[in-house]
């Protein structure tokens, strides 16, 4: 059964069809949310929100766009909302991170080898570079790089033209090249 048929069944109240959709898309949606929010806990929550939104809107479903496009679109919007909410509560986040940093053991106290720590630092910096991209470029990068969507599919999710996607990815790559230079061997 393809996604459209499954979704039409969900529209009729078929819970098994909904479960099948969740099981198919859970991982990619979680991954997408994770690229935005940066931590497992928030990513799980936002991913759940995506499927809840889908479930509640199922009665209005029209098979005009691909289900994956719909899901990605919802996921991008909800992830961006979560980031905005987090920024609005920045002082709380700062306090939280400060306390978390105080709890974290110093590198000399940990048993992890230096290479593991280096990798973690590198990952954090690369994530920061992606986060520093303008929102449209960041979304295009996440959808193309981590979900291997075609330019046309990215354009569908972002509701823009293919040439706009091309331009955003071109600029994003230029930015990444500049900012990731220290990390490129």
């Amino acid at each position: 059964m393809d996604d459209t048929e499954l979704m039409l069944r969900v529209k009729q109240g078929d819970d098994q069809a909904f479960r099948q959709i969740v099981e198919t898309y859970h991982k990619p949606i979680l991954d997408l949310c994770f690229r935005y929010v940066g931590n497992q806990e928030d990513a799980e929550e936002v991913a759940q929100d995506v499927f809840i939104r889908l479930y509640k809107a199922a009665h209005r479903y029209q098979p005009k766009a691909k289900l994956s496009t719909l899901l990605y679109r919802i996921a991008v919007n909800l992830s961006l909302n979560r980031i905005r909410d987090r920024k609005a509560k920045r002082w709380v986040s700062w306090e939280h991170h400060r306390k978390e940093d105080e709890k974290r053991p110093l590198s000399s106290e940990t048993s992890q080898p230096d290479t593991v720590l280096e990798n973690k630092e590198k990952q954090k910096m690369i994530r920061d570079v992606i986060d520093s991209l303008p929102p449209n470029q960041r979304t295009a990068v996440i959808l193309k790089r981590y979900h291997d969507l075609s330019y046309e599919e990215v354009a569908d999710v972002m509701r823009c033209s293919v040439s706009a996607v091309e331009a955003r990815l071109h600029r994003a790559k230029q930015n990444l090249k500049k900012r990731l230079k220290p990390f490129i061997p």
Binding site: R19, V22, E23, H26, K27, L30, D31, F34, R35, Q40, A43, E44, A47, Q48, F51, I52, Y55, N119, K122, Q123, I126, R127, I130, V141, K144, R145, Y146, S150, Y151, E166, L169, H170, K173, Q174, L176, K177, L180, K181, F183, I184
Partner: protein
């Protein structure tokens, strides 16, 4: 093709989004242009390094937790016909009833006041106030007491 035009196509070339004709043009230019080859290499390295970032691990029982959340939200949602129709209807009924009872009470009160006033008015017209007791500590009271004593002496109870 000039380097500037080629460099603008390198991003789509990396993403395998060029047409076959465009792709062939780029490759032909790259064969003879070290500068564009270097630009391509830099872009590719920056793109590839993004693989360093880990993927999240899907937690077990995702669907179970999702279903549980949906059920919870469903329970907290107002039941349409009960809360949207029945409760407002009951509330309106209570208000109307309250108005009716209130009106009824106030009407009875008005009638009772009116009847007392009418009674008083009738008594006044019949000069029945003549038979009312004298005000306390008045000469009339004192005279009446004296009269009572005289009558008592003659065998009449006051």
């Amino acid at each position: 093709m000039k380097c500037r035009a080629i460099k603008r196509m390198l991003s789509a070339y990396i993403d395998d989004e060029l047409t076959s004709t465009q792709g062939e043009r780029v490759e032909e230019h790259l064969r003879d242009c070290p500068s564009c080859r270097h630009s391509l290499e830099m872009l590719r390295d920056a793109w590839d390094i993004l693989d360093v970032l880990p993927h999240p691990k899907p937690a077990p029982h995702f669907y179970t937790r999702l279903k549980s959340r949906l059920l919870k939200e469903e329970k907290s949602k107002p039941h349409t016909w009960i809360e949207n129709v029945l409760v407002p209807a009951l509330a309106a009924g209570v208000v109307i009833l309250g108005i009716l009872v209130g009106n009824s009470i106030s009407k009875n009160g008005i009638q009772r006041n009116a009847s007392v006033t009418a009674e008083e008015a009738w008594a006044e017209s019949m000069h029945l106030d003549s038979f009312d007791d004298f005000p306390t500590a008045s000469f009339g009271e004192a005279y009446a007491e004296l009269t009572d004593i005289e009558l008592a002496m003659e065998g009449f109870k006051p």
